[in-house]
Amino acid sequence: MHISDGILSAPVLTAGFIGTVAVAAYTLRKLDLDDIPKVSVITSVFFVASLIHVPIGFSSVHLILNGLVGVVLGMRAFPAIMLGIILQTILFGHGGVTVIGVNTMMLGGGGLLAYGVWQLRHHVNINKKEMIFGGLAGATGIFSSGIVLALSLVTTGEEFIATAGYTLAAHIPVMIVEALVVGACAAFLAKVKPDALAGQLPLTQKSSPVKEKATAANEEASK
C-alpha cells in the first residue's frame, strides 16, 4: 500500500519529506551501535513478509505489517519502515523517489501509532492481551495509514475526494486481515520469545525459577 509518483502535488511531497526527515532524525538518534545490524536484519524480514499474499474472497492482499513493526521494534519502527520503503523504491520502482517522504510518513507513522496502542496493554489485566492488543495495533497501523493516504490525496486536489473514499474503503478488508495476523503473531512471540516484543516490562515478579536458583547459588558461592 503506497502512493505512486506523479499523483500528489509539490507541497504535499515536500511536507512528506520534511516530516520524514524530522521524525527519522529523532528516532535514528536513539539507535545504539548494536541496533544497526539488528534493526536492518529484522527490517529485511518484514520486507520479505510483505511479499506474502493472503487470499480474501476472490482476490488477495499482500501483508503490510507496519503495525507489527511497531509491536516488535517500538520507536525504531520508523527508520525500519523508511528503509523498507527506500529499498522497495530502488528495487521495484513501486512508489517512487519523489514519494518516499509521503509513503514513510504514511506507513511509519502508522507503525509508531501501533506501538502506542500496543503499549496500552500494560494498563489492563485480561487473558490473551497480547493477541488482543497485537490485533488492535495491526489494525491501527493500517487505519492511520489509510487516513494519511486519503488526506494527502484530498489536500492535493478536490477531484481526488472520490478516489480517497474508494481507497479508504479498500483498506477495511486489509485492516481485518492485518489485525488477525498481527494478533496471532504477537501472541506467538509472547509465548516463544517475549523479549522480541517492544516495550516488555522487565520480568521482576515472573522471573524464571531456574534463573532465581542460579542467582541464589551465585550469591551463596560469593559468600
Binding site: I36, K38, V41, T43, L91, H94, E159, V177, A187
Partner: protein, 262 residues
C-alpha cells in the same frame, strides 16, 4: 519481480561507465523535474527522454518489462476511477455514471509520469552494483547510518526469501492450503512470528561476528570513484533536458491537464 535490480550491472554502456555519484545526482534531479510536470505534451516529452536514457543503459528489454507490468497493473484503476469521479463537466454518461474528459487526462498524465520515473529508476540503479550505488549515495551526503542499514537489509533480504521458501514448502508438504478464513490468518501470524524469531537469533550472530571483526560503526569500502570530463558532459546533457522540460511546462504554451492544482 526481480529483487536484484543490479543483475545486469556488468553490461557495458554509457550509463554504466558514468561515475555513479554524478549519475545518481543528475538522474535524481531529472526524476524530480518529471514529478513536477503538469501538461500532457511535456509529460510525453519527458517519457521519451526517460526511454532514451534507458536505451543508453543497455539493460535487457525483458528485465525492465517484467517489473513494469506490475506497476502498470497498479495504475490501471486510475483510468476507471478518475474519469468517473472528476467533478468537472460531464461529456457523456457511462453506465449511469458521469464521464469527464478532464479525469481521463489526469489519469493519463499520472500514468505517463509514473512510468517515466520508474524507467529512470532502472537507469539509476540498474547500471551499477547495489553496494557501489549505495556508497555513491554516501558520497552525496546521505546519512552514513542509513546507507549501512540499507546495505544490511538488502543483503539479508535474499537470505530470508530462501528461508521463507523453505518454510512454505514445509507447510505445503503437511497439507496446508491458504484460504480466506481465520485459521489461515492465525497460521500466517505464526509463520511470520517464526520467521522473526529466527531472524532475531541470526541478527544476534551477525552482530557478534561483526564485533569480532572489529566493527565500530563504520563500513569500509574498497570502491573508489573518479569523475572525468565525460561524466560531466553526460550530466550537463541530462540537466539541460530537465531544465528544458520544466521551462516548457511552466511557459504556458500548453494547457495544463487541469486547473487549480499546484
Amino acid at each position: 519481480m526481480p529483487l536484484d535490480i543490479d543483475r545486469f550491472a556488468h553490461v557495458a554502456s554509457p550509463l554504466q561507465r558514468w561515475d555513479p555519484r554524478v549519475k545518481l545526482f543528475t538522474l535524481g534531479i531529472f526524476v524530480f523535474s518529471v514529478a513536477l510536470i503538469k501538461t500532457l505534451p511535456i509529460a510525453l516529452l519527458a517519457f521519451c527522454t526517460a526511454v532514451f536514457i534507458l536505451r543508453q543503459s543497455g539493460l535487457p528489454y525483458d528485465f525492465v518489462a517484467s517489473s513494469i507490468k506490475w506497476i502498470i497493473f497498479f495504475l490501471l484503476p486510475f483510468f476507471i476511477i478518475m474519469p468517473l469521479s472528476y467533478p468537472g463537466e460531464t461529456a457523456f454518461e457511462l453506465i449511469g455514471l458521469p464521464f469527464a474528459w478532464e479525469g481521463l487526462q489526469i489519469a493519463t498524465l499520472i500514468f505517463i509520469k509514473a512510468v517515466a520515473i520508474i524507467l529512470t529508476t532502472f537507469s539509476m540503479f540498474g547500471t551499477a552494483r547495489f553496494d557501489v550505488s549505495m556508497i555513491a549515495l554516501q558520497h552525496l551526503k546521505c546519512p552514513k547510518i542509513l546507507i549501512q542499514m540499507l546495505l544490511f537489509t538488502y543483503r539479508y533480504t535474499f537470505v530470508f526469501i530462501e528461508e521463507m521458501r523453505r518454510m512454505q514448502i514445509a507447510m505445503r508438504a503437511r497439507g496446508f492450503v491458504m484460504k480466506s478464513n481465520i485459521k489461515t490468518m492465525h497460521v500466517m501470524g505464526n509463520f511470520v512470528g517464526t520467521l522473526l524469531v529466527r531472524s532475531f537469533e541470526r541478527s544476534e550472530r551477525v552482530y557478534k561476528a561483526m564485533l569480532s571483526k572489529g566493527y565500530q560503526g563504520e563500513l569500509h569500502s574498497m570502491v573508489r570513484f573518479q569523475s572525468e570530463r565525460q561524466d560531466y558532459i553526460k550530466s550537463a546533457l541530462v540537466l539541460t533536458a530537465a531544465g528544458l522540460i520544466l521551462t516548457l511546462d511552466f511557459s504556458g504554451l500548453f494547457l495544463p491537464a487541469k486547473q487549480a492544482w499546484f
